[in-house]
């Protein structure tokens, strides 16, 4: 098979504007497609990275999310005594009982209120989650109305920066520290003393219990033990899987919406590519006849025109991905539809997104170029040579 790549390439260049428009059509579609994938990938990364493999989270059975979960102190004490839980050097179980409540706070730039999760934690919470790092200020002192703020909340919401105060639970809370957690969902939360928060909200029960395992392999046994204990009505999850599951609804929604939009857009790009290719086949009928007369076969003609279409759409795809890659510099926030809390994350590129987008571009090129290419290859030589074009 002899492909005439040089010929295809030079024809694309020669068509200038027409080629440019069909490339931009594909570029636009690929931009949208890649942007959606980057969005859901970014969201997944943020939520999946929330939590550790060694950790276990316990919530009330059938309560879906931490916010809806209610765990009284006696249940917490039973769980805390489980033998699978790791202990620190001082002999204390690496275990924390927390509450999670949502408050409404205006954003810095728009003044529009949105949900912010407030987590009541214990000093042990930092040991359970070693990725959490106080980067400015200090940890709150026990028994005070002090809180620390995740880096993303601090940036996005009024009153949440270092030294500022934020009012909820009929108290003013002073932000005494800012923490980072490797970009995970915790960075979108405010953390305060669990006892103070339970007081402030008049809530005598915990939302969740999080603990570190001695060995990750102990998980199944522990899960069976706790979930079958007749005194307990709890669900036991690996922490990482729990947060990933929470991400699923939102990412699934974004993916479906994005795919539908991309497909609708791509129909336009495919029709655009098809018109371009039909026009060029019509203009080059005599050239096609000449190629065939010189001894090039039908299949060479077919592949040459198909390659021309694919080359254009591939270039469009590269342009689209290039433009989409700049989205990395934007941070977006969305409502986490499980907790209805504000969640900040950014567009993330991955090799599979790039490859997927390029494949999508190539498929558009094939879809748009196939029929015109078939038409070109079907021409009878004598008829093609008699054409004006």
């Amino acid at each position: 098979m002899h492909l005439l790549f040089g010929y295809s390439y030079k024809n694309i260049i020669a068509r200038k504007l027409t080629s440019l428009f069909s490339m931009l059509g594909v570029a636009l579609v690929v931009f949208v497609f890649a942007a959606v994938l980057m969005l859901s990938h970014g969201l997944e990364q943020t939520l999946v990275d929330t939590g550790s493999d060694d950790n276990v989270i316990v919530i009330r059975r059938a309560s879906q999310t931490e916010v809806q979960s209610i765990l009284p102190r006696d249940i917490a004490n039973i769980v805390k005594a489980d033998p699978a839980i790791a202990h620190d050097t001082a002999g204390a179980p690496i275990f924390t009982n927390e509450i999670l409540v949502l408050i409404n706070q205006p954003k810095r730039n728009s003044n529009e209120p949105s949900n912010v999760p407030v987590r009541g934690v214990t000093p042990m919470s930092l040991k359970v989650r070693p990725t959490v790092n106080i980067v400015e200020g200090r940890m709150w002192h026990e028994g005070t109305s002090e809180i620390i703020a995740g880096a993303k909340v601090a940036k996005t919401f009024q009153g949440c920066g270092l030294g500022e105060t934020v009012r909820f639970g009929m108290r003013d809370w002073t932000v005494v520290g800012i923490f980072e957690a490797e970009g995970s969902g915790f960075e979108s939360e405010l953390w305060g003393d669990v006892n103070q928060l339970m007081d402030a909200f008049g809530r005598p029960v915990f939302s969740s219990l999080t603990m570190q395992l001695k060995a990750p392999g102990d998980f199944e046994a522990m899960k069976a033990r706790l979930e079958q204990d007749p005194r307990l009505t709890v669900e036991v999850h690996r922490e990482k899987e729990y947060y990933a599951e929470q991400a699923r609804i939102t990412t699934t929604f974004i993916n479906i919406l994005g795919t539908v939009i991309s497909i609708v857009f791509s129909l336009g790009a495919i029709v655009g590519a098809m018109i371009t290719m039909y026009t060029t086949v019509a203009h080059r009928t005599r050239e096609i006849g000449t190629l065939r007369a010189l001894g090039f076969t039908r299949s060479t003609v077919l592949l040459t025109f198909l390659a021309e279409s694919v080359l254009m759409s591939f270039t469009g795809g590269v342009i689209g991905i290039f433009l989409a890659s700049f989205l990395r510099f934007f941070e977006v926030s969305t409502t986490n539809w499980d907790t209805f809390a504000e969640l900040a994350f950014s567009f993330e590129v991955s090799p599979s997104i790039i490859i997927g987008s390029l494949i999508f571009a190539v498929v558009m090129g094939i879809a748009g170029g196939f029929l015109p290419a078939v038409q070109a290859s079907r021409l009878r030589i004598v008829d093609a040579l008699r054409a004006k074009g």
Binding site: G6, Y7, I13, G289, A293, G295, R298, I381, L385
Partner: protein, 226 residues
């Protein structure tokens, strides 16, 4: 005594348009000998191009056989016929039929892409062909940067670059001014005389036909030899 290169045996050709048969060629018998320079003349619509296309293996006869060096072309499949054309036939068109996006060099190189020649060998052959037609200094020019006569020279270079057994030219001077036409005719005559190329040329121009050694006339699909 020269050998027979092409032999047409009782060849008839009809085209079909809207299920109406349009007879074009009637029971043509023709022999072209190796080394001959044949002119094919006749009024418009008499079937000259059609006959040339049948010899070139671009079209198939409705009846009869085209035999090329003892090979019956009707036995070849479509793909085999394409490969056969690339090896044995060089075609020169009235309107040159160069690819406008390719340079003179690239146009001449096109038929060589169908051979197993290396890039270096291809380049050498293209340069030789362009030198023969006197356009060694125009290799990088695009067709729209060349005069009609120069374009036709490029087309002739493309036709000879594979060193084919038979050069077919359909009114090669039909679109040229007198001066350029004369130059093209001289070139074809030189290819025939100096390089021993077998040429069959369709022409309206009696002066062009003077260069040929054999003249056939077609009239309403019937052949007579002058």
């Amino acid at each position: 005594m020269a050998e027979t290169l092409v032999k047409l045996e009782d060849v008839s050709k009809s085209y079909w348009r809207d299920s109406i048969e349009i007879p074009v060629l009637h029971h043509i018998n023709l022999e072209i000998l190796t080394g001959e320079f044949v002119a094919l003349m006749g009024p418009s619509g008499s079937g000259k191009t059609t006959l040339l296309n049948l010899i070139a293996g671009i079209d198939r006869p409705s009846q009869g056989r085209v035999i090329f060096e003892h090979e019956d072309l009707s036995t070849l499949s479509e793909g085999d016929l394409a490969r056969w054309r690339s090896r044995h036939i060089g075609f020169v068109f009235q309107f040159y039929n160069l690819m406008p996006v390719l340079t003179a060099f690239e146009n001449v190189e096109l038929p060589l892409l169908l051979t197993k020649l290396s890039r270096a060998e291809r380049h050498k052959q293209v340069e030789t062909a362009l030198a023969i037609v006197g356009l060694a200094d125009r290799m990088k020019h695009y067709p729209n940067q060349l005069s009609g006569g120069q374009e036709q020279r490029v087309a002739i270079a493309r036709a000879i670059v594979t060193d084919p057994d038979l050069i077919l030219a359909d009114e090669p001077t039909g679109d040229l001014d007198k001066q350029s036409a004369e130059e093209i005719m001289d070139l074809l005559a030189q290819l025939n005389k100096d390089f021993g190329k077998t040429i069959t040329m369709v022409t309206h121009d009696p002066r062009a036909a003077e260069h040929a050694r054999v003249i056939h006339r077609l009239d309403k699909g019937e052949l007579e030899t002058a």
